[in-house]
């Protein structure tokens, strides 16, 4: 009985200690988060004030060269109502671009990561694939546009292809490097303990290469967004890149900046989402 009380008390103490530790960690995190938010605001707010002053108060920068906050607001109003701008409202443009980026990114990761792992795992596969990869790698995604039109027509296929090409390269390189940087003694130890090749891949190779794979995926996602405008040169009728192209043809700086802000927001949001996935898949990294 006394033992059980002691044990209960110990459990209680330990749970109290553990809960206070959790609370402390949570507080520290919240404080860290608050501090980060304050720092971010401290960087952004002066910039916004400077923007307003230079374009709307002193008129040091003419609206033809850089839009004022009011110009951007007007552009936001125009694209949010009625028929919107460049073929649709901003929600439709964002949806179309996100769809293209996610599809291009998914195909690039689906092909690039296994290919990089294969090249890292097998010298023979590397010798076979690497020369072609080295030849294709320096070609800018923009250069594929005329061929993409011929192969896939003017639909989404051509755009996804251009995004895929941009996102594919970092996915391959980082997965390949992730495997190559693995400590060979880990693989040797797994072999000594009788692990089969599929088990080595599943339990050693992939977990070991995951940090580099995720770095590659982050770069791929960024490449997908930065290639979006080029991809939407392929006869797009909707999308953020299309808005940027049409606004540049309209010489409409307010709309250009508004679309750029959305590209930034969407790119940052998707990178953040990938970061959440990364934390779940490889918690030890954070």
């Amino acid at each position: 009985m006394a033992a059980s009380v002691r044990s209960a008390s110990a459990t209680g103490r330990s749970s109290a200690v553990s809960s206070s530790a959790t609370r402390a960690t949570r507080d520290a995190k919240r404080l860290g988060g608050q501090r980060r938010a304050v720092l971010a605001l401290a960087a952004i707010v002066p910039l916004l004030i400077l923007w307003y002053v230079l374009t709307s108060v002193t008129h040091t920068v003419s609206p033809g060269r850089f839009p004022s906050p009011h110009d951007v607001y007007q552009a936001a109003l125009q694209i949010s109502h009625g028929n919107g701008y460049a073929g649709g409202t901003m929600s439709r443009q964002v949806w179309q671009s996100s769809k293209l980026v996610l599809m291009g990114f998914a195909v690039a990761s689906g092909v690039g990561v296994p290919l990089g792992l294969l090249m890292g795992w097998s010298r023979r596969a590397e010798a076979l694939i690497n020369p072609a990869f080295l030849l294709l790698r320096p070609i800018p995604p923009l250069a594929w546009i005329p061929l993409a039109i011929l192969w896939f027509g003017l639909g989404d296929g051509a755009k996804i292809f251009v995004i895929w090409f941009a996102a594919f390269v970092p996915a391959v390189i980082n997965s390949h490097t992730g495997v190559r940087n693995l400590d060979p003694t880990l693989i040797a130890a797994a072999r000594v303990h009788g692990a089969s090749p599929p088990q080595i891949v599943r339990h050693v190779l992939i977990p070991g290469a995951l940090p580099m794979i995720f770095t590659g995926l982050r770069l791929s996602l960024q490449a997908s967004w930065t290639t979006l405008v080029a991809a939407e040169l392929v006869g797009a009728i909707l999308g953020l890149g299309h808005v940027l192209i049409v606004a540049s043809l309209d010489i409409y700086p307010g709309m250009i900046l508004y679309a750029m802000i959305w590209v930034g927001i969407m790119g940052a949001a998707m990178t953040k989402a990938l970061g959440v996935v990364e934390k779940r898949v490889i918690p030890w990294r954070s």
Binding site: P146, I149, L150, G235, A236, I237, I245, L249, D250, I251
Partner: protein
């Protein structure tokens, strides 16, 4: 005979007087888009040294299309030039670009062109052939305006088709590969496609009742500072127009040479078609730009329709008043100056 000899003597002496009056030529930055019919006066003026006749020394900036040309005006990259009417309207709305004359009427050479198969469908039933189709257009161009006019001619609107934005080279490549059936091109690109894949022009801006002029433009601040130089610039352009009208064979040959130098050679057949495009001399320009009794001029009406079209597709938030950017002030300056007028109307050299 006597009259023409006297006129020639007057023109030659005017040119001589102009040249001697301005001992030091004044520099001017001029912009245009090569391979266009209306760009030929710039080429001729340089080859024949007509700029020097009015005391100007010109540097050229050339652009593949009107939008980058207009955008570069914001940085003061050029003072005067020639461009399409659509970019001229955007320039007026965004950067105070004035339209001070007309380069030509290009209504017949901004066309809706179709591949052989699409043209065959179009011949049977134009409306059905176009409805629901993808029409490739260069956004904010005279080509897009012509395509829209053609759709209206057949009782369709832009909502009945899918307008897809591509550059002229992209349109040509897509039509060649058969990924689309219809596209909007302008000369000489339409000629190239006719020759290359047997494409057919199914409708022109003129067929769609859209008058598509080209514009002689100038930066407003430059025009305010140097109205005399703008008048001289116009005098040279008008002199070239007069010369082209008087020398058809030499003009056709010069156009072929100029297009070849610019990398888009055209055959004699098509150069002769280009020559048929209406161009306007001083008297004709004054006529079409005159606001009789406060009524809008012909040019005002043409540009207003273009501006309305651009507003309808969201490119402009409001239609700029024609009188705020179209002016015949500088043409009148040419007309009121006997020496400049004589030079502008001289077709002898």
């Amino acid at each position: 005979m006597k009259k023409s000899i006297c006129a020639s003597l007057l023109a030659v002496s005017a040119a001589f007087a102009l040249q001697t009056a301005a001992a030091e030529p004044v520099h001017m930055n001029v912009s245009y888009q090569p391979t266009n019919w209306w760009a030929l006066p710039y080429v001729l003026a340089t080859k024949k040294n007509w700029w020097a006749d009015v005391g100007l020394q010109v540097s050229y900036s050339t652009f593949p299309a009107g939008v980058p040309q207009i955008a570069s005006a914001a940085a003061g990259s050029w003072d005067a030039g020639g461009t399409g009417s659509v970019p001229a309207v955007i320039g007026a709305a965004r950067y105070h670009i004035l339209t001070v004359g007309i380069t030509n009427d290009e209504s017949a050479t901004n066309v809706l062109i179709a591949t052989k198969e699409a043209a065959a469908r179009f011949e049977k039933n134009p409306k059905e052939a176009l409805k629901g189709q993808r029409i490739l257009v260069t956004a904010n161009s005279t080509g897009e305006y012509a395509a829209a006019a053609c759709l209206h001619k057949y009782g369709l609107s832009e909502n009945d088709v899918t307008m897809v934005n591509l550059g002229q080279a992209g349109i040509m490549s897509a039509l060649t590969s058969g990924t689309a059936g219809f596209g909007a091109l302008w000369a000489p690109n339409s000629y190239t496609l006719e020759d290359k894949i047997g494409a057919k022009i199914v409708c022109t801006g003129k067929d769609g009742d859209a008058i598509i002029p080209g514009a002689l433009v100038v930066r407003e601040d430059y025009a305010k500072e140097h109205p005399d130089l703008v008048a001289k610039y116009l005098a040279v352009y008008l002199h070239a127009i007069k010369w082209e009208k008087a020398h058809p064979e030499e003009t056709v040959k010069a156009l072929q040479e100029a297009d070849k130098e610019a990398g888009v050679p055209i055959s004699e057949k098509y150069a002769k078609v280009e020559y048929q495009r209406p161009i306007f001399d001083l008297a004709e320009q004054l006529e079409i730009m005159a606001r009789h009794g406060g009524k809008p001029s012909k040019v005002d009406v043409w540009f207003d329709r273009i501006a309305e079209f651009m507003k309808s597709k969201g490119s402009l938030q409001s239609v700029p008043a024609a009188s705020s950017y179209i002016t015949d002030k500088y043409l009148k300056m040419v007309n009121d100056d006997p020496k400049l007028k004589a030079f502008a109307n001289d077709a002898s050299r």
